[in-house]
Amino acid sequence: MAEKMALAKAINESLRRALESDPKVLIMGEDVGKLGGVFRVTDGLQKDFGESRVIDTPLAESGIVGTAIGLALRGYRPVVEIQFDGFVFPAYDQIVTQLAKMHARSLGKVKLPVVVRIPYGGGIGAVEHHSESPESLFAHVAGLKVVSPSNASDAYWMMQQAIQSDDPVIFFEPKRRYWDKGEVNAEAIPGPLHKAQVVREGTDLTLAAYGPMVKLCREVADVAAEEGKNLEVLDLRSVSPIDFDSIQASVEKTRRLVVVHEAPVFFGSGAEIAARITERSFYHLEAPVLRVGGYHAPYPPARLEEEYLPNLDRVLDAVDRSLAY
């Protein structure tokens, strides 16, 4: 029974299902109640589940995550919303020093099933702090899982899985894809949360991406196809853990890899992928692993973001450079 819906709506439906099926699930955040969140991802949930399940919090991110930790210690499964990527940092301390480490600190006795939802990434013409991609800052921290769906179906299912996970999950939502529609089958049996997916088969080169860049990579592959190049597109879906086996399998077929993400390339997830794949598949590679992403510069004002963000041309350029080796 597949239904076509926008990615934001898919998350909304997923949260609704979680609230219905588990009384311990809570939604918390700024403006998540009456307003339904600034992106309307939680639209209607407070109306249907009440103020004690869908909680408008004071304007304090450290407080939101810190109290979610306490609620989780008490047996709840909070799903908290950080309004925008750039506003997670007041909560970064709680996430990094507490949320990530309590399980280890308690020798496994304490579980913290907290989901931190963060709309992230650029391309919507916003002001400062509304367009960043800080996923590497979280992936670098042991104890956290970091995922990012690229389409409505994954958004629906990955949210279910994130809420069911006994580990904290940082759930990065590609905000510029919120309005993209896709099929969601609420009765399907989803694949594992951290498994990458081949979304387009190809033979000449692998494009690996996640979240907002998957759509771009598909477009790149379409354009490249017109030029006679057959690209494979891999949707990583998870940044921590990363499904290196799937990348390796693809690369050993195509022998070339370009990683695309919006975050700055320097110390980004692409760097980790390049290093691991070089170790694993050195003798299969025909070219160095290339990366396309943001520069080592503050996210620029809106009128320059198209220059900063990976686009069709920049990815195609990297594809050409790889194929030229």
């Binding site: 408008d56 304007l59 013409g125 002001v127 009128r303 320059l304 220059e307």
Partner: protein
Amino acid sequence: MTVESTAARTPRRSAGSKAGTTGTKRTRTTAKKDAGAEPQLVQLLTPEGKRVKNAEYDKYVAGITPEELRGLYRDMVLTRRFDAEATSLQRQGELGLWASLLGQEAAQIGSGRATREDDYVFPTYREHGVAWCRGVDPANLLGMFRGVNNGGWDPNSNNFQLYTIVIGSQTLHATGYAMGVAKDGADSAVIAYFGDGASSQGDVAESFTFSAVYNAPVVFFCQNNQWAISEPTEKQSRVPIYQRAQGFGFPGVRVDGNDVLGVLAVTRWALERARGGEGPTLVEAFTYRMGAHTTSDDPTRYRGDEERQAWEAKDPILRLRRYLEASNHADEGFFQELEAESEALGKRVREAVRAMPDPDRFAIFENAYADGHALVDEERAQFAAYQASFADEGGN
């Protein structure tokens, strides 16, 4: 007047003293509904434009001249006009976003005009009226909303810091700056603006702690415009915000934020305390955000029209106009001239925005570091080569 020599004084205006007469229970349960009528609200001009006596604060505006009163009026009218122009420029696609100050003119002009040239202001993102008082060209405020820069003015040329979007951060900067002022033995003061929502942030609590401990010459100016996007003040605090100061060991006072005279007096008092080595003060300007939170917000989802209508009756501009007219401090000619000046300002702002060029694409790499950075240089060169490859194609 060193930091060390002045012990923190007993708060003069916190819950325990003056406000105590209200009864905590009542303020707790009805903080929002009738808070505007709470007895502890300092008010010098009623909504009808009547001047009311105030034993404590009258002296801070005692010598005010008709010309100065007209000046305050002019500031509010021009600020509102500027704000309206920016709102329509956003609708016309010239700005990506706008955070309107409609309704908060008195809070901003009253406090802004209380500052001295050598004072230092730390705003959030809605302080267009304060910027006006500090002599910042209004067009400069629009760059970040148009998306051509992330601030764009030199904070030191008017002692007006860049707008801060991350809620509450600037209150700590203000406190640190004020600690520096005290260390230098200077007698200027610092004022930090923030919203009622921001009062929940840890940074704000930490700035209260630091400023109290170091007796920093800083005024915390909270514009309680009743809403933090969709959340009413009760979602931030169970006590009136000004009362929080007491727990940190400095005074807090609530002023009618739609009364420009009251705000001027109270802010002058607070700034003088700071200058006199008496440390921080929290001023809560009780006001109202008449419009949407920003142009991306839809307030119909969370509040009704009646509330706005009730606040329209307390309009800060109308109130001063009534007073000016009743006291014969301004004639028809003044209002007409101001009308023309408003139109001219609107036109100037519109033209300035439309003439604002997009930044050069290499601006991405500018100013990430003061000293330069090898990686940035490398990426800039790659970017240039990439751009040049298109230029070649274009030349074919």
